[in-house]
Structures are given as structure tokens and as C-alpha cells.
């Protein structure tokens, strides 16, 4: 696949057809015997493919705001990446009606050694905006993210929460019709957070589609009108947010995506 394919004629906003995916996990090589011991000594780790989704199908209509729920390792992160197209399914098909802009752990994509302005252009570029388009929306971005003071200083020196505001605003500036958002539906504190809320709620009213994960049930209840509960590689339930949250509540919420806990310790 040369680039992420978009099918404007599609009825649904995002559609999964029998999507299967497995992800590699490294494990420290176990086993007895000289051979295994030598390989362990050499720092070799065994990689196994862990299935994340098996034959998962779903479709999300334009204008819906869907909460993606699930416990640890339920694959919420992978689900969002598949929808955005930054991860390719092993089998099955993911179709999307328009460009899907991801807001994942975007602040890790910033480069501290560049200025805020350069970072805006770089991040926007990753999200498919040309420098010309970015320049047009630069004022809005700077205004919204309150980044004016730091615009031409290196990001290293800028306050930490500014990065979050920055990536959020740049992603919003793409003006996409579909967003997948991991844990940062709104960012920041106080007044900025309120502005985030009014922005995303305005978009929602205007018919923009959202796929959201969050650790804050209140955010999801406030914003989403449908929930997909992921479990064991399938969709356990396709229901209202309230019921969906009931389903996942028993399991203690831990960070499902980062730090694969069995990462090779060499």
C-alpha cells in the first residue's frame, strides 16, 4: 500500500471487515539446555506473534462519537491505529470515507531540538498538511495553543503542558472529518480545557466523527453516544456508553498500550 487509501463513496465513516491482527511481543528466551542458555547469553530474545484481533468487523457512521472501551491489552491502541491507517491489518479490510487524523501519543513525535514553529510544521506535515496549508492556519494554532511566547524558542525550554496543547491544536487544525483520539479528547487545565470542550463539541455538532479512548469515564459519558467494548480480540458489546462502562468496570484500569511489560530486559 503506497499511501492510506480513502474511499469517499463509502457509506460508513470507518469500516472494519473481518480484521485480524497480531502484534510481535519480545520475551526473554526461556528454556533449558546449553543451546538456549547460550542464546540467552547472546541477548537473543524470542519474538512471538500475539493475536490482538480475530475477524473483527464493525462500522461507524459519519457523525457518531464512539467510545472504544476495553481492559488492559484489549488492543484499544491498535484499534485506533488500524482505523487511522498507521497500522495495517494482517487480513481483512479497513475502509475509511475520509482522512482519519490520529491524536495518539503525539507529543513523543515532537523534537525538543527544534523550535515550536518548526515542530508545528513537522507535526502538521506528518498529518498530511502541506507547509502552505499549515502557514494559513498558523495564526489559529498559535492562538489556540497559547504558544505565541514560545513560537521561536526551542521546544526544550517551553513548558511541558504546552507540548500537549500544541499537538492537540495542530491535529485539530487539520480540519479532518474523522478523528481517532487516545486519552486526549481534551487536554490542559482550566480555561484551556474548556476551550477544548467547546471546540470538540462544536465539531461533533457539525457532524465530525470521533473514535475515542479515555481513562476518564465522565469524559466518555459526556461526549460519546455509542461504545464498543473490546475483549479477547473481538467486540464484546456494541452498546451505550453507560452499559459499556459497566462492562469494563470490574477489571482495574491499567495502561493497556504503553510499556509491554514483557519487553526484553536486555
Amino acid at each position: 500500500m503506497a499511501s492510506i487509501r480513502i474511499q469517499p463513496e463509502l457509506f460508513a465513516a470507518v469500516e472494519f471487515d473481518d480484521v485480524s491482527l497480531s502484534m510481535p511481543r519480545s520475551k526473554r528466551r526461556g528454556g533449558q539446555g546449553t543451546r538456549n542458555r547460550i542464546r540467552r547469553l547472546a541477548g537473543e530474545s524470542s519474538r512471538q506473534q500475539v493475536p490482538v484481533f480475530t475477524d473483527l468487523s464493525m462500522s461507524i457512521m459519519p457523525g457518531e462519537s464512539v467510545a472504544i472501551l476495553g481492559g488492559a491489552k484489549s488492543g484499544r491502541h491498535e484499534f485506533l491505529r488500524l482505523a487511522a491507517g498507521t497500522l495495517l491489518a494482517d487480513s481483512g479490510r479497513v475502509r475509511r470515507q475520509a482522512r482519519v487524523v490520529p491524536i495518539l501519543d503525539n507529543s513523543r513525535c515532537l523534537t525538543a531540538a527544534y523550535t515550536t514553529r518548526q515542530n508545528i510544521y513537522l507535526t502538521a506535515g506528518l498529518l498530511g498538511m502541506t507547509p502552505g496549508e499549515t502557514a494559513q492556519r498558523l495564526d489559529w494554532i498559535v492562538d489556540m495553543a497559547e504558544a505565541g511566547r514560545w513560537l521561536d524558542t526551542y521546544l526544550r525550554g517551553a513548558p511541558r503542558n504546552m507540548r500537549q496543547r500544541l499537538v492537540w491544536t495542530v491535529s485539530m487544525a487539520t480540519g479532518a472529518q474523522i478523528f481517532v483520539i487516545e486519552k486526549s479528547l481534551v487536554v490542559g487545565h482550566g480555561e484551556f480545557m474548556e476551550r477544548c470542550w467547546s471546540h470538540v463539541e462544536g465539531l461533533r455538532a457539525a457532524g465530525v466523527t470521533f473514535l475515542v479512548t479515555s481513562d476518564d469515564p465522565h469524559d466518555l459519558e459526556r461526549f460519546c453516544d455509542r461504545a464498543l467494548v473490546l475483549k479477547g480480540g473481538r467486540i464484546l458489546a456494541d452498546t451505550s456508553v453507560k452499559e459499556g462502562l459497566e462492562l469494563v468496570r470490574p477489571t482495574p484500569r491499567t495502561d493497556p498500550t504503553d510499556q509491554p511489560e514483557d519487553r526484553d530486559d536486555n
Partner: protein, 257 residues
């Protein structure tokens, strides 16, 4: 090529940003893109023509002879070495990047190419200093650049995708590049290749490419059309293999991010 054209503006920005970042911390800035290869050429020229001048290597003037081939060679090594690092290190941009994945490879290849372009004045300087000027066959110089780009695209994609999944491969590439430096007529002329090895050396596309760079100055520097054709075929084969390998490994590379 369609990818490059469609994303040309973003690519331009990325490449300029990389170049800027690369030279920003140096007092002499972009001058280093000339000074570094110039210094290396001087060292090699000194060693192989002054210290070890006994055996006839290549053509005269040796400094020009060396620089015409060593600059493209550097472009090749730097570009390929950089490709091995593309999908290692911080991969998180890949998790949100809506650009085609190839862009990351094309980006580092273009950066190395920009360095090459910036170092071209060395050849002009060498021409003026030695007062040697090329004949009409110099028109093949840009052709050589295009062929080399094609070769690097294939090799770069291959090397980048394999070393993303097998980190050891990056080390192997480094050794192979070093070996290739001596196996390719950079320091010496094509005439120095022993008779028996000619046929094998024709399979090394860099032999033909470097020959194309040099042919404008020294018409004897290629073995003729047959060898060039073989070189071109091998280049195309590399490009196809690179693209296919990348296509097949792309989804696995993305999983590593």
C-alpha cells in the same frame, strides 16, 4: 516517483529541516558539506599518490580523478548507512504519520543527495586547479546521478526494511559498504581491475555508475555499452527487489512502532 511528487512540499520541508538540523551546531555550518569530503579526498590523494605513488593508479590528474568518483561514492555510503537507521530509534512518528511509509526512506536519501549536490563545487575547483576540462561526454554526468538515485532507492528501501526487523543487518551493511569501497574503482581505474574479474565486476552497478561520472574526463573509463547495459539492468533489478521487499515488510515495520 508519484509519491515524491504528491508529497513534494512536505518532503522539501523535511529535507531542509534535516539539513538545517545537521549543520546548525557547527560554526562553519554548511561549509562542512564541502570541507568534509574535500578533507577526505586530500587524505586519500596524499596517501595514494604522494606516499604510495610508485604504482600507477587511475588517471592523471589523480586528485580530479579521485574526487569525481569519491563524491558520488560518499553520497552512496552516507545514504545507505542512514537508511539502516530510518526505522530504528524513535519510531513514534510512524504511529501518527499519514504520509506513505516510504517517505521516511526517501527523506534520508534526499538529505544525502543534497549533501552531494553541495559538495559538487569540489570537482569544479579540482578542474580549475588542475586545468583539466571534460569533453562532450560530460552530458552523462547527470545520467549517472539519475541511475545512482534509482539504485539507492532500491538498496535504501531494502536495507531500511530489513534492518528494522533484524538489527544485526545494519552492522553487516556497514562492513559490506567498506568492502565495496575497495572493490569498486574509486581509488583506482577500471583498467586496474584484473582481466579475470572484469565480468564479475560488471555485476556491480557502481562500477558502471562511477564509469559514467568519469567518462566525460577520461573516455577509457568504461568498458563500453555492454557493461553499462549490465549495470543498468542490475540497478533496475535492485530497485524492483527493494520495492517488493519493502511492500512485503511494511506492515511488520509499522508494528514495531
Amino acid at each position: 516517483m508519484g509519491i515524491v511528487w504528491k508529497n513534494r512540499q512536505v518532503l522539501r520541508m523535511l529535507v531542509l529541516r534535516d539539513l538545517h538540523g545537521k549543520y546548525r551546531n557547527f560554526r562553519l555550518g554548511y561549509l562542512w558539506s564541502i570541507l568534509e569530503p574535500l578533507g577526505m579526498t586530500f587524505v586519500l590523494w596524499f596517501v595514494f599518490s604522494v606516499l604510495l605513488g610508485g604504482r600507477k593508479l587511475g588517471e592523471q590528474p589523480y586528485f580530479l580523478f579521485l574526487s569525481v568518483a569519491i563524491l558520488p561514492w560518499w553520497w552512496f555510503t552516507k545514504g545507505i548507512a542512514a537508511s539502516t537507521r530510518v526505522f530504528r530509534g524513535n519510531m513514534s512518528p510512524l504511529t501518527i504519520s499519514l504520509l506513505p511509509t516510504e517517505i521516511s526512506v526517501i527523506r534520508v536519501l534526499l538529505v544525502s543527495m543534497a549533501d552531494f549536490a553541495l559538495s559538487l563545487p569540489i570537482i569544479v575547483i579540482a578542474m580549475i586547479v588542475t586545468w583539466t576540462f571534460p569533453g562532450p561526454l560530460i552530458v552523462l554526468f547527470p545520467v549517472a546521478i539519475v541511475v545512482q538515485m534509482m539504485l539507492m532507492y532500491g538498496v535504501g528501501l531494502f536495507v531500511a526494511s530489513v534492518s528494522a526487523l533484524v538489527p544485526d543487518f545494519a552492522r553487516i551493511v556497514r562492513i559490506v559498504l567498506r568492502a565495496m569501497f575497495y572493490l569498486t574503482p574509486v581509488l583506482y581505474s577500471i583498467a586496474n581491475i584484473p582481466e579475470g574479474a572484469r565480468d564479475i565486476s560488471a555485476l556491480n552497478p557502481l562500477v558502471s555508475i562511477l564509469g559514467l561520472y568519469r567518462i566525460g574526463f577520461w573516455p577509457t573509463e568504461t568498458e563500453g555499452a555492454a557493461q553499462l547495459a549490465v549495470g543498468l539492468c542490475v540497478t533496475v533489478a535492485f530497485a524492483i527487489v527493494g520495492v517488493i521487499t519493502f511492500r512485503r515488510l511494511e506492515s511488520r515495520i509499522l508494528k514495531e512502532a
